[in-house]
């Protein structure tokens, strides 16, 4: 057995716990998870059935953690994990899954298949079977501090532009601020308006906040590729910065996986609870609304809909907040069919957008989003994840649909009283 394969197998072994074992024991091969996954519904390729994507992990569970599998192993009957399997599964595990978790909401026996696929990635990555694009992004995240290679001077330059445009000060490294804002590279490079929007809203609401020059990147490529050590290191950077600046709350920006990574996986990755809170920016804004500190004026009359980013809504629990906020500024808000925790993924989360090999399929499965949009024909789509936003724009262009994309935070800022 090659050294890397052995590493992969060991990594898979570490992933098996009582929940995984009970999930595999329960699967009845009913196929319903396929009907819940856009990578199956839009391609009709049965290999892309969610539970099938976990095959490497299933084999390890069966052969190592079940009596019957261990007996079978003695007689050479239990299926093995080998390099061929991992090679064959690479495109299923990385290119054909966004870890959106929709399958996990549908499986009748209750399997959290998305979590099992996330765990399968740990073994794939350890065995050297992760896609180039993600490896690159992860390496940049570790060495440069950002998966897109965005360095501090780039951020400073963008902050400079924002300050000039808005006439607001963007606080950097302010000790004792209440909130520390994280940003995704995508926001810094493509949507710096987000920073301006936050500056305006927080100024009006009298919120003390800051950005850390040492840990501003919110994206966690370690999670997407499935390397816990790296994921933990990236989380630790944020923790160190938050502790150094003594902030009470870290704000995760409009990015889905970043939120899941820091909010739900973060403390578990570094092995201790945070001594600050983590909130998604929409949660913070909704709090401000509740406290009467966020006041808006005017209503959008165009027909708006909201695309729930998977990791923020279904996997993250931020579902009502965006709707509360949207209702402040829209009297023509329409839900897509299948919304909130059952929304369909845009098709590019979970590292898919960093993986060029998956470009074709992510645009193909966008058909699902198109069908959802065609059902209500909105004038504009609001969302809260810059990765969703970029891919939605891509998809809309590909399918010749002319619907503008709006950031919820930015739209709110435009309506500030």
């Amino acid at each position: 057995m090659s050294a890397s394969l052995e590493k992969g197998i060991n990594a898979l072994k570490e992933q098996v716990d009582s929940s995984v074992a009970s999930f595999f024991s329960s699967c009845v091969h009913c196929g319903m998870c396929a009907d819940a996954c856009l990578f199956y519904t839009e391609t009709d390729d049965p290999e892309r059935t969610p539970i099938n994507k976990t095959e490497p992990l299933r084999r390890i569970w069966k052969s190592e953690y079940t009596l019957i599998g261990r007996i079978g192993k003695l007689f050479g009957l239990t299926k093995k994990v080998d390099d061929q399997l991992l090679t064959d599964w690479e495109t299923l595990v990385y290119d054909s899954c966004t870890l959106c978790g929709r399958c996990s909401m549908v499986c009748p026996v209750g399997n959290d298949i998305a979590m099992m696929i996330r765990k399968t990635r740990e073994g794939m990555a350890a065995a050297g079977h992760a896609p180039e694009g993600l490896i690159g992004a992860t390496t940049r995240a570790v060495t440069i501090g950002s998966p897109m290679g965005v360095k501090l001077p780039a951020l400073q330059a963008q902050i400079g532009h924002v300050e000039k445009d808005t006439g607001m000060k963007v606080p950097v490294d302010v000790e004792g601020a209440e909130y520390m804002l994280l940003l995704s590279s995508m926001e810094i490079m493509n949507f710096p308006e987000f920073i301006g929007a936050i500056a305006k809203i927080f100024d009006k609401a009298g919120v003390s906040w800051t950005i850390s020059s040492e840990a501003f990147e919110a994206t966690n490529s370690g999670i997407q590729i499935g390397v816990s050590d790296i994921a933990a290191e990236l989380v630790q950077r944020v923790v160190d910065a938050a502790e150094k600046l003594k902030v009470k709350t870290v704000i995760s920006p409009e990015c889905g996986h970043a939120y899941f990574a820091i909010r739900w996986e973060g403390p578990n990755l570094i092995g201790k609870p945070f001594n600050f809170k983590v909130r998604h920016v929409l949660e913070v804004l909704d709090e401000l609304r509740k406290d009467g500190r966020l006041k808006t004026t005017g209503m959008e009359s165009q027909k708006l809909t909201y695309h729930d980013p998977c990791q923020i809504a279904r996997r993250g629990g931020v579902i009502d907040e965006p709707r509360n906020l949207l209702n402040m500024i829209s009297d023509n808000f329409v839900e897509m069919p299948d919304t909130g925790k059952m929304n369909w993924c845009c098709g590019a989360g979970g590292g898919v957008s960093s993986n060029e090999r998956a470009d074709e399929i992510r645009l193909k499965v966008f058909q699902r989003k198109k069908d959802q949009l065609d059902a209500i024909r909105p004038d504009a789509i609001v969302s809260a994840c810059s990765n969703c936003r970029i891919h939605l724009e891509d998809g809309l262009e590909e399918y010749h649909m002319d619907i503008p994309l709006l950031s919820l935070t930015e739209t709110l800022a435009e309506h500030l009283e």
């Binding site: 009582s18 699967c27 199956y40 009596l67 209750g110």
Partner: protein
């Protein structure tokens, strides 16, 4: 060669004992095998409760959302029919209740025999439809393996043999009854080592799913 009566008393005696031991021990082993693996505690600040989320999903996962129902209609309808049918036939047929009374000392009211008879027929039809669907549906054909076939066979067998025994089709009464009991014993022996275990582990899986979601403030 065993006589008819010897065959019947074997399946009722030693046969049943062996099957019961394997069934019970197998289930206990399987459940321990899962639970003893344990699970790390969650260090992230909770947004909701694991407990209520877990128990909620144990119930709520029995009811698909309308859009899921539309996408997987056949699987859901056929699945419901044969599960419910099996439940009624196993636990509410008068002779079965007598058997349970013998073994565990408890008894409960039965359903009229014609109702059970019809339920058995409906369940058999549903299971036949399930297997046809398995071969016609792309995904199911792809997932299908030996275990799926075995489990289907040992599940439908007691229904069919029971139906035949009740209507005395073909052989004599004792032989038919013995074959029926034997088919149940085969089911019991296969049970702990196949996906039939979901009858027990479904509660754990749904609980874990609901608990993990509930912790994050999502009802799953």
């Amino acid at each position: 060669m065993m006589t008819e009566i010897e065959f019947l008393s074997w399946v009722r005696g030693p046969g049943l004992q062996i099957a019961t031991i394997i069934f019970v021990a197998g289930i206990v082993i399987r459940i321990l095998e899962i639970l003893l693996l344990g699970r790390k505690g969650n260090l992230a600040e909770a947004k909701g409760s694991e407990m209520s989320g877990g128990f909620r999903t144990i119930l709520s996962r029995s009811v698909p959302t309308p859009s899921t129902f539309k996408r997987s209609t056949f699987t859901i309808v056929a699945g419901y029919i044969f599960h419910l049918g099996l439940f009624l036939v196993i636990f509410f047929y008068a002779p079965h209740i007598l058997f349970f009374k013998d073994v565990i000392g408890l008894s409960w009211p039965s359903l009229p025999t014609p109702v059970i008879d019809a339920t058995a027929v409906i369940s058999i039809i549903a299971l036949l439809a399930v297997i046809v669907h398995r071969f016609n549906n792309k995904v199911l054909r792809y997932l299908n393996n030996f275990e799926d076939m075995l489990v289907w066979f040992v599940t439908i067998a007691p229904l069919v043999t029971g139906y035949i025994a009740f209507h005395r089709i073909g052989m004599t009464g004792p032989t038919l009854l013995a074959i029926h009991i034997l088919s149940v014993e085969i089911l019991m022996v296969v049970f702990p080592f196949t996906k039939l275990m979901h009858a027990f582990t479904i509660f754990m899986s749904r609980w874990y799913n609901g608990a993990m979601s509930g912790y994050r403030g999502v009802e799953s």
